[in-house]
Symmetry: C2
Subunit: 236 residues, 2 copies
């Protein structure tokens, strides 16, 4: 077997595991969109479907982990190739967590559909979810194209998600103060909003992997961002 | 350089990165204990300290990731050795998340200290946190000793944490219904309880790594457990 052959088989391996990331990303995008629509439309059947489909995302993560181990064992990658392989592992972990959050949204939709609706919040949550979904799409594009500028752009957009979450938090408080019968529903909606905000954090983490892959360094401010959220208002 | 020499240098590498996991685990145990005590005692200074110390946990995770990449690149591990190396990466991720939750608990303590106290909940949260802390200690022991029975035992104990969380959830609901002035504080306390429950999930994930390392297979029921929590009561 000559070297060119080995290198090209390795390239195919790298492409293969990265293609799995894109597939997994597409499944998470669908799960998020379906979960948000199910919540807004009180569609418990669609919510159930999101919960069932999460098993496929989990299975794909395990497949990725096993393929990554195989690639490392067979090809013994170093330097940039090793970084690529390890980024696949990290990003598949982020996507799996996002899938879990979508599943949890589906669960809470089943519970919420039996409670009085809280006016206006379904639409606000859907918009927030759509923004994160678009961030995810762009983050995956940035990953596959190794586009640092796009990755940076997506990271910046995460602060809009934080603002949307803070606005919703205040809205839930108001509804709960106004009428105690809203409390249980608002606690679930609050969790949903928080989980979508956390999905945004996972997208940010994917962007950091892109930056790391290209520049070899993690962005400096990543750990600081969280501290800037207005927890003094009680929102974080 | 003869083979024996290489193997023993590799063993030292493996021991080194596993020792980092134990160190990181110890830091997370301290963070959890301090965060729970700060909450119960309304000790904002201690809460601040927990938040500052999280940077050290984050730095250690990055160090572990970089050391793991170095070990893979230099030693090209396969089979069981590769599983060990990858488990280090996974577990350091779990510990880093647990550190984040402790930090978040510290943040919320600063906010809560300016609100009316909710009777009885500080102690209940401390007990829940202590149980998870003990689970973490046992999970790390199980990891270092490759003790599948202990890992299984810790996994089973996670359902007690879920029960504690569910009881607290109902208690918070009651306090909020009784007096709207409790709502904001209860929402923070609810997040704290939920985050401790999530810490338990991360400990469970560490146990699954132990089982995977020894048996080569992930336990079957891991993804199912979550579905058994009584979300129909609105508690999950």
């Amino acid at each position: 077997m000559e070297t060119g052959h080995i290198a090209s088989a390795f390239d195919r391996d790298l492409e293969g595991i990265q293609a799995q990331i894109m597939k997994m990303g597409g499944m998470v995008e669908t799960a998020m969109a379906d979960a948000a629509r199910a919540l807004e439309m009180r569609d418990t059947e669609l919510a159930q479907q999101v919960r069932r489909n999460d098993k496929l995302i989990d299975a794909l993560e395990e497949q990725v982990a096993s393929d990554v181990a195989r690639v490392i064992a067979m090809r013994a990658p170093t330097a940039g190739d090793l970084r690529t392989v390890l980024s696949v592992l990290k990003i598949s972990g982020n996507l799996e967590r996002m899938g879990d959050y979508a599943k949890n949204l589906g669960k809470r939709t089943s519970v919420l559909s039996e409670m009085p609706a809280i006016n206006g919040t379904g639409g606000a949550i859907r918009r927030m979810s759509q923004s994160v979904n678009l961030m995810l799409k762009d983050a995956l594009d940035a990953y596959i194209q190794r586009d640092v500028a796009l990755a940076e752009d997506v990271r910046q957009r995460d602060s809009e998600i934080d603002q949307m979450y803070n606005a919703l938090f205040r809205e839930f408080l108001t509804h709960m103060m106004e009428d105690p019968r809203n409390i249980t529903a608002c606690m679930h909606l609050h969790f949903i909003a928080k989980n979508i905000e956390r999905m945004g954090d996972h997208v940010t983490s994917i962007c950091e992997q892109v930056i790391y892959l290209v520049t070899g360094e993690l962005p400096d401010e990543d750990r600081e961002k969280e501290d800037k959220t207005p927890y003094a208002t009680g929102a974080e």
